[in-house]
Symmetry: C2
Subunit: 190 residues, 2 copies
DNA sequence: CGGTCTCTTGACGGAGTTCAAAGCTAGTGG
DNA sequence: CCACTAGCTTTGAACTCCGTCAAGAGACCG
């Protein structure tokens, strides 16, 4: 039941059986229904989440009252607000499940102990977060250089299966255009 | 001469004197003139840079042939292309000095050895890159929710001293609008 | 089924781009 | 130390991509 996480970790570091046992004893699997919140804006984030099944997203509510999705997380992705987590400051974001999810939630206290007991995890999270940062840079590049239509087609090509899983208005906001415009792109009326 | 880096590291982890000696023996300070490139698009990135003096930026050239700055790095910031670095793939970015710089360049080989010799550095880089990732998320939030004029004023308020240091067209592209439009914002003609 | 989300369509408007030309500034070499 | 030049900034007019609004059509879930 924790195997997706162990598999993911073993891609980057090799844990001893004893370390796996220790880690396992600290983990809890949670089943969360669709549309539930893992984090609310204004709340201090002190948990990190690893999705083993389903899909979650990080979003904000803009000045017009519309939700805008900043990030999706699917199987084998971590999701949290690292700024709020590290600085113990109120979060600017909501984190919400998009589908019924199974996920591993690790509290800050637990994680801090684990990182001390199993220093290899420092390496694991270092590599994972450097890659995430790299991916965020690429995301900004695409937002900068592509038109709305190009972003849509590009995303569709890279994630043909994922597109089915989320409502179109969420994807539209992730790609930074309106749901109406997305509809026109899909209809070829643009 | 390496003190800015040691100071920065000691904010997050405490190194033993022997570790400091080892680290020091592996570092080289480089003086780089303004407008020189540390990384070219298409090249595999196998160096990370810590700025001790000056300013550098990561940028791309868009389809119209215009440079667009994705990130600035000033004193006490790391800059590199982590995706190219980790995957050994050609970079999508240029990295270039904006001012005359003094920086510490660490090759991938050297860094990998250092991380093994001084495991605390794993922790240091984990924390730094998680914070960077958090900052990238905030950047995307601002790009999504603010108008061009709001982004300009917001950036000016947060970095009043920095704005003087870079040409306006670089800052305009970083904030994702044209140099001409920036000029109009500054003149209050918008 | 009934109501609430979600998606579509068209008309209109506006924030920001593009282009071209002129004005300014700073660095460089004589 | 001045003059020249290349790079940077400003300005205005025309244009365009995409947002907003409003209304209707589906689709899904209880």
């Amino acid at each position: 039941m924790f195997t997706p996480l162990f598999d993911h970790i073993q891609k980057f570091v090799t844990l001893e059986p004893s370390e796996i046992d220790l880690l396992q004893s600290c983990l809890k699997l949670a089943k969360i229904k669709k549309k539930e919140h893992l984090l609310q804006e204004g709340q201090v984030c002190n948990t990190i989440y690893f999705i083993t099944k389903g899909c979650a997203r990080q979003y904000i509510i803009n000045s017009k009252g519309t939700e805008q999705t900043l990030q999706f997380a699917i199987e084998n992705w971590w999701i949290t607000d690292y700024l709020s987590y590290h600085n113990t400051t109120p979060s600017h974001f909501y984190i919400q499940t998009v589908e019924n999810c199974e996920l591993i939630a690790i509290e800050k206290n637990t994680l801090e102990s684990l990182l001390i007991e199993i220093p290899k995890l420092e390496r694991y999270f270092r590599i994972v977060s450097q890659k995430s940062f790299g991916a965020a840079q690429m995301r900004i590049k695409f937002l900068f250089t592509m038109s709305a239509e190009e972003r849509y087609h590009h995303f569709n090509n890279l994630n043909p299966d994922f597109v089915q899983r989320v409502p179109q208005y969420m994807l539209a906001s992730y790609l930074d255009f309106s749901a109406e415009f997305m509809s026109k792109i899909r209809a070829g009326k643009v």
